[in-house]
């Protein structure tokens, strides 16, 4: 009995005891029946190794904290000169003048939000449609090709999207879509000026659309994965009650997968906020605050990509680092909000059932 006990404790504590150690253990436990001390010794060795293993993995895990903390500290220290020079008005000033050393982050911060918003407005419905089609409507033979295509799209480096956007999409957009937008939406009351501008093919709207294309593979593949885990019994029961596909999706699939869908959207939003190269190619990189989506703008990450290498002088560099810190904080807030949303969703679920 004692030998049996011994083996159990070791294998539980050791997590994954290797084969040789088990064998030696067996040999020893048979000898153990009379003497206890060698077994205790062995146990000690196992326990020490175990502790070592636990501490090593813990160290690796804590590396994440150290890195995160290190990045925050470096960004904060780096941004101090600019924050000292401009104070909180850095975040509200549209000025960006390296000659007179006047910097403000409003234009890139605004651009980051607007392009991400456009990307989400386009990306979420399309991803949702793709995921629904694959899981609910598509004939079986088509599911795989579409799934593979989406995964391939997700794997394309962002600079390729940027080049495609600049060389293929922007000219087509300028020649065929922007004039139409100008003529038909540009004269609307109130929101008209949002759609007015020279048809250059580059600008905030183009950047938002390219971002949407980049976000779609991520969000749609996450949505597809979570839609697939909905038990078919639930769905078929709903169909049995006479529900249409739309009703099944809206009333059964979506409520069941809420958290996963929100997670997918947040993953996409994270990419849209931080995407650099593709946006830099098509946004026009101008530090200009314009209500029109057709006009060039700037985002935080593209401003950094453009200007960091040649930024001369402490305040200039520091202003760019402050922008980096801002992006860090924005991403952090977005993730935190997503987490809170998910927690509240699951809480409400608990109450309902």
């Amino acid at each position: 009995m004692s030998s049996y006990d011994n083996k159990i404790t070791v294998s539980i504590a050791g997590g994954e005891p290797s084969l040789p150690s088990l064998i030696t253990l067996k040999e020893q436990t048979t000898r153990d029946s009379k003497k206890m001390s060698p077994s205790a010794q062995n146990k000690n060795v196992g326990a020490t190794l175990d502790k070592l293993f636990r501490n090593t993995t813990m160290f690796f895990a804590f590396l994440v904290f150290i890195l995160l903390f290190g990045i925050i500290v470096v960004l904060f220290v780096g941004s101090l000169p600019a924050l000292k020079a401009f104070g909180p008005s850095f975040f509200t000033s549209p000025a960006w003048n390296p000659v007179e050393i006047q910097f403000g982050g409003l234009v890139p911060i605004y651009g980051t939000f607007i392009t991400a918003l456009i990307a989400m407005l386009i990306g979420i419905p399309v991803s949702f449609g793709i995921a629904i089609f694959i899981t609910e409507l598509s004939p079986t033979w088509l599911k795989r090709p579409i799934g593979v295509a989406i995964e391939l799209l997700a794997g394309i480096p962002s600079i390729i999207y940027g080049m495609w956007g600049l060389f293929v999409f922007a000219p087509l957009f300028a020649d065929h879509v922007q004039p139409w937008i100008n003529d038909n939406l540009g004269n609307l009351p109130l929101i008209g000026q949002v759609f007015q501008g020279p048809p250059m093919g580059i600008g905030m709207l183009t950047a938002g659309i390219i971002l949407a294309i980049m976000v779609i593979p991520f969000t749609s593949s996450v949505m597809r994965d979570v839609f697939e885990i909905v038990p078919s019994m639930l769905k078929e029961s709903a169909y049995g009650l006479g529900a249409t596909t739309w009703e099944v999706v809206w009333n059964v699939v979506l409520p069941y997968t809420k958290t996963g869908v929100v997670g997918g959207i947040m993953l996409g939003l994270g990419r849209a906020l931080g995407e650099t190269m593709a946006v830099t190619f098509v946004i026009g990189n101008a530090h200009e605050l314009s209500p029109s989506l057709m006009m060039p703008g700037n985002t935080i990450s593209s401003a950094l990509a453009n200007e960091f290498t040649e930024a001369v002088g402490d305040i200039y560099t520091s202003s760019l680092i402050t922008l980096g810190l801002t992006l860090f904080v924005i991403t952090f807030i977005v993730l935190a909000l997503a987490k809170i949303l998910l927690i509240r969703l699951s809480l409400r679920e608990g109450k309902q059932s």
Partner: protein, 351 residues
């Protein structure tokens, strides 16, 4: 197992020794960092120079700003910058500078029906376009300069660099010299607050925007305009002549520049005199510490550039750079003698 290892020890030792022997101990590698604009010519020179002398140049084209930072921190043997440092800035960090090669910056246009060199502009009109004061191609000011051209009634889109760049510095410096309003409102630096326009990253970014957007005007390095067949403009220089950008008109600017009277070679070759002179020309500069911690490396750097000045002219021209005129090279090498010293005060260039 162990005995085998012990037996092979001498062999390993021999191998290691062999490796050290084959590395020539007399060749010093020189390191530099900075401007991206002259990178192709430095790389070309370095390749040929390496074949001749076995000295390797390791040049990182990280941008002028980075080059200045790195040479100030002494992590490289020389820094390179498209924007010269002012004499007082040089003094502050104990650096000296000298020009390496000259290049031209050219306005490129995309106007339907207008071919290379057809459009004539002068400095003031160019400045007003970039100041957003002239917004249509058929503006009276442009028409007076081009009575025979059919200019469309379309909006002008300005294309500029979005990244900091020596090209921007040279271009803005020219505009500051020819337009008081530009110099008051905008000024000149490697990045500036543009009154209007879209920004492209790098010469290639500006070039591709200029090709995409109808009715656009941008500025790029000459080599870039030439290699991509972008339509350039004829620009009126200080003597009132309309000149086209080419090696000859850049060389004229380098020749007429008064280097002798420029302390610390702080000379920007914009709006220089000379009938054939292209007005938007600029040199790219090399930065070195006046007191060399490692004089042997310093001498190697100077040998490299001396070789480049004397033997690299054709290579430079093939890549659309303008080599420094002989008279200027003499001035540069004289300044090496008097400015660059080792720690004990001995000149590191004695040729």
């Amino acid at each position: 197992m162990r005995t085998k290892f012990v037996k092979s020890l001498p062999l390993i030792a021999m191998l290691i020794a062999g490796i050290t022997i084959t590395t020539p101990s007399f060749a010093t590698d020189i390191t530099g960092a900075g401007a991206t604009f002259p990178y192709p010519i430095y790389a070309k020179w370095a390749e040929s120079y390496n074949v001749k002398t076995n000295v390797k140049l390791n040049y990182q084209s990280i941008g002028s700003g980075g080059g200045i930072k790195q040479i100030t921190n002494k992590t490289v043997d020389f820094g390179a910058s498209d924007k010269p440092l002012k004499p007082e800035e040089l003094e502050k960090v104990g650096l000296m500078q000298f020009p390496a090669v000259v290049g031209g910056v050219v306005p490129v246009v995309n106007i339907p029906g207008v071919t290379d060199g057809e459009l004539r502009l002068n400095g003031e009109v160019l400045a007003n376009i970039f100041l957003k004061k002239i917004t249509k191609w058929n503006d009276a000011a442009i028409k007076t300069l081009n009575p025979s051209l059919a200019l469309p009634d379309s909006a002008i889109t300005v294309v500029h660099r979005s990244d900091g760049s020596g090209t921007t510095f040279v271009f803005a410096n020219y505009l500051s010299k020819v337009s008081k309003e530009w110099s008051d409102k905008v000024g000149a630096d490697t990045s500036i607050a543009w009154p209007t326009g879209v920004g492209g990253k790098g010469n290639e970014g500006v070039a591709s925007y200029a090709q995409r957007i109808k009715g656009s005007i941008g500025y790029v390095e000459y080599a870039f305009a030439k290699q991509n067949n972008l339509p350039t403009v004829a620009l009126q220089n200080r003597e009132g002549e309309f000149v086209k950008p080419n090696i000859a008109s850049f060389q004229s600017a380098a020749k007429f520049a008064d280097w002798e009277k420029a302390p610390g070679f702080y000379e920007i070759l914009t709006n220089e005199p000379g009938k054939e002179t292209w007005p938007i020309t600029g040199a790219t500069f090399i930065l070195m510490h006046k007191v060399q911690d490692n004089p042997a490396n310093g001498t190697e750097v100077l040998k490299f550039f001396d070789w480049g000045y004397n033997n690299g002219g054709l290579m430079a021209k093939a890549l659309d750079y303008v080599p420094m005129p002989e008279s200027v090279v003499k001035l540069i090498e004289t300044s090496w003698k008097s400015n660059l010293k080792s720690k004990d005060g001995a000149a590191i260039w004695t040729k």
